[in-house]
């Protein structure tokens, strides 16, 4: 059962924990989330956390935000969900506002523009590497690679709108996976 809380965790504790995840999660929050939830506060075991994050990964929306909705609900009901999402979002958005003001003021300077162009290419690389890392970790079978191939060619070669690609891909992926069996 992933829904039997071991001990009561207050809304304040949840907020503090998720604020820590948001504030210290540089370059992706998933690593920091596991550290805080599993290792620091022992709110969940490794396995429970993996199950919830696994659900977060296949649900639409930000993975860790989804996980915080489910974890918050588990300990404090709907109020807990709201507190956890606020906790993870509020401080990063305040910091983002400072950066946004700086960008509005200095973004036009040639040096800033060049530096951000370099960082933007790096950020594109980060996204690509995230996908590759997942592909390596999951140990995909024929069905998995076929689904990935369909997604990539639909979006990049056929240039279909993403909404249609996703809506067509979900049932296709389920049929392919059920048909080819295994992973």
């Amino acid at each position: 059962m992933i829904n039997a809380p071991v001990r009561a965790i207050s809304l304040f504790e949840l907020f503090k924990g998720f604020a820590t995840i948001g504030l210290l999660g540089f370059g992706g929050v998933a690593v920091m989330a596991r550290h805080v939830i599993v290792e620091k506060y022992h709110w969940l075991t490794d396995k429970e956390y993996a199950t919830i994050l696994g659900m977060g990964q296949v649900l639409p929306g930000a993975n860790v935000v989804n996980a915080s909705v489910i974890i918050g609900d588990r300990f404090q009901g709907p109020k807990g969900s709201i507190v956890c999402v606020l906790g993870i979002m509020v401080l990063p958005i305040l910091i983002l506002l400072v950066f946004a003001l700086l960008y509005d003021k200095f973004g036009q300077l040639p040096a800033v523009s060049v530096a951000l162009t370099g960082a933007g290419a790096a950020a594109a690389g980060m996204v690509l590497a995230t996908g590759l890392k997942m592909a390596i970790k999951v140990k995909l079978g024929v069905a998995g690679w076929l689904i990935i191939g369909l997604a990539v060619s639909g979006i990049l070669i056929l240039r279909l709108p993403l909404v249609y690609v996703v809506l067509a891909l979900i049932p296709t992926a389920i049929v392919i996976t059920a048909w080819l069996g295994k992973k």
Binding site: M55, V69, I70, M89, I93, G118, G125, T130, L140, A173
Partner: protein, 183 residues
């Protein structure tokens, strides 16, 4: 264009994107870029990539790219509307699925859905990374930066944020030594 309609467009487009974001914000970056750059013409590719770089330096979930776009398009109201539009639909769905997931736990259907949807997420993220790499293209240096960051993330344990900073410095050095001119 009058403000309310901009807010309405932000809300509508981002709520739609929220519900197809299987694999998180990284999976829907092509759709986000398409809306922001091609359909609405709120900014060009170069600006979009610079904003994306800024959000990667910001701690917290990647979804704040949506907040920053909202800010650029319609100030603080834009930030709030864009962020809520992106978070609310997905969070509500995560809440509902989280509640019924217990009953489904271990069921064949749920396992099939998970096995099928993980490759969908991976495919969307890979397409997102490739799409952004294209958008980040400003001359010979940017593909090299993309490749170097992918390699750095796959083959070292360094936090990807170091790659962002190093890439900004490399771009500056190449530009001011006269080796590289932004295309």
């Amino acid at each position: 264009m009058n403000e309310p309609s901009v807010l309405g467009q932000l809300a509508r487009s981002f709520a739609m994107i929220s519900l197809i974001a299987i694999g998180g914000i990284n999976a829907v970056l092509p759709a986000l870029r398409h809306v922001v750059v091609d359909s609405m013409r709120w900014m060009d590719d170069a600006t979009f990539m610079q904003l994306f770089a800024v959000t990667q330096i910001t701690p917290g979930p990647n979804v704040v790219i949506v907040s920053l776009v909202g800010w650029q398009v319609a100030g603080f109201g834009g930030l709030l509307v864009a962020t809520l539009a992106m978070l609310l639909p997905a969070c509500l769905l995560a809440f509902l699925i989280g509640r019924i997931a217990n009953r489904l736990e271990g069921s064949k259907g749920l396992r099939l859905a998970q096995t099928a949807l993980v490759p969908v997420a991976i495919g969307l993220i890979l397409a997102g990374g490739l799409d952004l790499s294209q958008a980040a293209y400003r001359g010979w240096l940017t593909p090299l930066i993309v490749a170097a960051n992918v390699a750095g993330i796959l083959f070292t344990k360094l936090n990807p944020v170091w790659g962002l900073l190093a890439s900004a410095l490399v771009a500056l050095a190449a530009h001011y030594s006269g080796l590289f001119v932004l295309a």
